[in-house]
């Protein structure tokens, strides 16, 4: 048995959450409430120290220092103040009458992602992946590689056909879409297998904590 108070608290919380498997109960609700509160607090503290301080405070400080030392405006660092102002505008949502102003920072955010992602996904996940799929269908003297490459090209092609929205899945086209969905299902199956693996690992570690660290039964 562990003699560490922390381990006992952790064990209580672990069992409390697991008790949900039997049925919803007050101990589970208590642990749930602790989790909700602690995690909100955790994010609050972390965001303050890792985003607000270094990104807003430090940059504006640099800008002020440059202004005092050299007497020039350092626009790049000053612009972080504008970021801070956008953040404050977000908080205006709390004031119902002018809450609509909070749409502006939101628009900046959505604009940023749409601009960045349009390019990033087009390049890395469309163009580069198409490039990766351009492989010889016949590899001299290597039957396995040839078959594998043909499967990759055909599978990708048919999979894309499945995602066609503006054409009815009928005839040859429908057949290809059918083959496509098979490939997609194999992908989901593989992904399911891996997920089972992942989840079981997590449970193993938790059980190891309960049986080993807490109860000290594993030597």
């Amino acid at each position: 048995m562990s003699t560490n108070l922390g381990v006992w608290i952790a064990a209580f919380l672990t069992l409390g959450i697991m008790s949900f498997l039997y049925k919803d109960n007050p101990i589970y609700k208590f642990c749930e409430a602790v989790f909700v509160g602690v995690s909100a607090g955790y994010w609050f503290v972390t965001e303050y120290f890792t985003v607000f301080l270094p990104k807003v405070w430090d940059n504006v400080e640099t800008a002020i220092n440059v202004l005092q030392a050299e007497g020039r405006m350092d626009w790049f660092h000053w612009s972080y103040l504008l970021g801070g102002i956008l953040g404050v505008l977000m908080l205006l949502r709390l004031v119902p009458k002018i809450g609509w102003i909070s749409r502006w920072p939101l628009a900046v955010i959505v604009g940023t992602t749409s601009g960045l992602w349009l390019i990033n996904y087009l390049v890395s996940n469309a163009m580069v992946q198409v490039r990766q799929t351009i492989i010889p269908l016949y590899v001299a003297g290597n039957l396995n590689a040839s078959i594998g490459n043909i499967i990759i090209v055909v599978g990708t092609f048919c999979g894309l056909i499945y995602f066609f929205f503006s054409k009815e899945h009928k005839g040859v086209f429908g057949g290809a879409a059918k083959v496509g969905i098979w490939f997609i299902m194999i992908t989901f199956g593989a992904s399911f297998g891996y997920t089972v693996m992942s989840r079981m690992s997590l449970l193993i570690a938790r059980m190891d904590f309960l049986v080993g660290t807490w109860l000290g039964l594993l030597k």
Binding site: Y194, S201, I204, A205, L218
Partner: protein, 281 residues
Amino acid sequence: MKLFDRLLAIDRRIIFLLVAIAVTLPLFSKTILHIEISPMVKGVYDAVNNLPPGSKVLVTFDYDPASAPELQPMALSFFRHCFSKDLKVIIMGLWPQGPIQANIALEDVFRIPEIKAKNLKYGEDYVNLGYMAGNEVVIQRMGSDIQATFPVDYSGNKTSELPLMKGIKNFDNIDFVYNLSAGYPGTMEWVQFAVDRFHAKLGAGNTAVQAPGMYPYIPRQLVGVLGGMKGGAEYEIIDKHPARAVSYMLSQGVSHAVVVFFIIIGNLAFFATRGKRKTSE
């Protein structure tokens, strides 16, 4: 037929109990199972093993405690491998909890006598640059200047004053990047930026959930990937230092067998009762 009807109506709590037993009982066994080394793990291992002593390795911790069971053993065996080969290790994280996990792993690895004997020094043999907010844009910035991206390390020391960081400007001065990732930002972002844009050499350890998504990137953009606890166990075996992940493999195997068993029983019951349901409808 009665049996199957009853099976289909089984209380899920019985299933839960069976899973708990399947996972816990094997923990008491000391059996070491045969573990095959997959080419994906060998790819990563060889890449590290072929680095000359003194090479600089960047290890990025992009996960939180929830995925630690899968990724922590990988961090541990990777550190062990690096330090035993006298490689220099630079740690960072794109998840706020990542660098804490790195510190926990370092504490563990320094308990291994062989590593302890080396008397490794912070700042000379390894550094922890800490967490930086900004997701993939952090990687982009590191491509032009790592020290400007991380002006101070985890404890607030100036990065430029750490001996290990002397002469490290961008990915050109990093010989290998190892990414431990549990989601976004993670391996995909490292591929898109560090590899596609700055031509870094990248290996990865992923949670099993993520691993299949990395296959399209191998081998051109990624030397290999360790998938889940099994990947960690394979690395421990190929590195000839079996540790935690290997000891969990029996539990892992039994629990998979139980899930497969459930699927088979569920389907048998489903098909056995289907005909009957059709007639009664």
